[in-house]
Symmetry: C2
């Protein structure tokens, strides 16, 4: 039977570490970490996400600063707000909830966030730092994937890793992190020939294609570790209920060494990593130390980012 990697439990442990770190910062006379969340307009889903993030802040002791702007806010005013938050010493992380209204250039706004406060990790400077293994803020979902892997893998060196999907927000950063961990990394995608055979040789599979149940049981080598980042909403025709499907045929992967479920695997990690990133940014801004947040490794592994 495959070990089920419990994303909720790992996320809870990460939150506890973040909370302990915040307490240690306060005890050391440092400022409490502050996360500013910008919400433009009244998109329903965005409001739910923002509420969850604010609740997570309360859990770990981060001060949350919510800045709501009307849907017709000008780009200029939004940029001015980002500028203000960039220069506010009590703010250590800035998150601008997307999607933004259509009259606003999303890329421009996201790039105006200071790289040191970019807790989403998507600023070109942070992407560059990640790509060259020189610190910076690691995007939340890729960081979550690595922490889940670290919870079951002790030594990454020389392991064959296959990443399915080459998006800028998951596939590519995960590939970079696996490469930094000394895995041999193959990045696959829609144009890849012979994906089943490529997967069959893998010690680690990270599926981030957004293709429900793409990875079949017989693509997975006995003992391999499988992380399923895919989440697709589908309607179950029999019950009429909505279902969340991962990229992996979970039921037929019981010969895997360890595997994440969907939901309950990668999902719960994302906000916990956002909190961890905010704590790290707050420390880095106050001490000049810019180690990546993945110092928050999960037992039993040693940190793969150290040294």
């Amino acid at each position: 039977m495959a070990q089920i990697i419990d994303g909720k439990a790992v996320a809870n442990r990460l939150d506890e570490k973040s909370k302990a770190e915040v307490d240690a910062m306060i005890a050391a006379g440092m400022q409490r970490p502050g996360l500013a969340v910008i919400l433009v307009g009244d998109d329903g889903a965005s409001q739910v996400y923002v509420r969850r993030k604010i609740k997570a802040c309360q859990k770990v002791g981060i001060t949350s600063i919510e800045r709501r702007l009307p849907a017709d806010t000008s780009q200029e005013d939004l940029l001015a707000l980002v500028h203000e938050l960039n220069n506010d010493p009590t703010v250590h992380g800035i998150l601008c909830q997307v999607p933004l209204p259509k009259h606003i250039d999303t890329r421009l706004v996201l790039r105006s966030i200071s790289p040191d406060k970019d807790v989403d990790g998507f600023h070109p400077v942070n992407v560059g730092r990640l790509s060259t293994g020189t610190g910076g803020i690691v995007p939340c979902t890729p960081l979550g994937v690595m922490i889940l892997l670290q919870s079951v893998i002790d030594d990454f060196k020389g392991k064959d890793a296959v990443v399915i999907g080459k998006s800028n927000i998951v596939g590519k950063p995960v590939a970079n992190l696996l490469l930094d961990a000394e895995c041999t990394v193959t990045v696959t995608h829609i144009y890849t020939h012979g994906l089943p055979d490529i997967c069959r040789k893998a010690d680690i599979i990270v599926a981030a294609a957004g293709a429900p149940r793409l990875v079949k049981g017989d693509w997975v080598k006995p003992g391999a570790v499988v992380i399923d980042v895919g989440i697709t909403r589908v309607m179950d025709e029999a019950t009429g209920k909505e279902q969340l499907l991962g990229d992996v045929d979970f039921d037929n992967c019981q010969h895997a060494g360890a595997i994440t479920p969907v939901p309950g695997g990668v999902g719960p990690m994302t906000i916990a990593c956002l909190m961890a990133n905010t704590v790290q940014a707050a420390k880095a801004l106050q001490t000049g130390d810019n180690r990546p947040a993945a110092d928050y490794e999960d037992a039993p592994s040693r940190s793969m980012f150290g040294g």
Copy 2:
């Protein structure tokens, strides 16, 4: 018999294109591209490299600005010079020849160069842009590798590419470019198990390990394209003469589809790509257009960066 990819000939064609581009810029009333080369101290090899770069500028019609500083120049003065060049509208590319004297923080100096003038392409912002496929300046050697590949490959989509070596200056950026071109990309390195078998499946092999004749003839699939980035100087014991060895056992790879020699393959491309990058930077700074320099594709391929 494998087709020998003549790096000198491809580099000459690239230089001709750069020259034509400069002529077209002048004809359109734009400024002539200017490349500033900073040389600190009197390292012999650095002087040779700088001289070659200045000669290349003359060949394609780029204004070269040489700024020599004594070996005991303070870091402050060097940063002030970079700042001056960043703000000089007649300078479109800035190159700081390394190694720098030990009392100077090389990373800090290189990062102080404006990303828009960073014709080496190593600034984190340019690394980030490359990693996310959003334009920017592509480092010279990886760009040269891609142009050599484009000279013999028409369609990259779905090709199996293996990159040997994961350095920040060659392996990783080459992997990113191959991924953008829709190849399935495997990055291998010193901890990789079963490298021969991984190579045997490859349509494209880019060897950048710095390990003389690592890649044996029987690692190469008939018809595969092999780019040899390695250059190691060794002494030939029989003749007592210095020899340059690549990472590939060239003599036993005559069943390859196409292969670069060492020397005369990737080597000549690097300075030609520096010139191409300077021309592109000069255009981008004057027009706001930041397409990567790899628009300089070589016949017969279509540009893989377009669209």
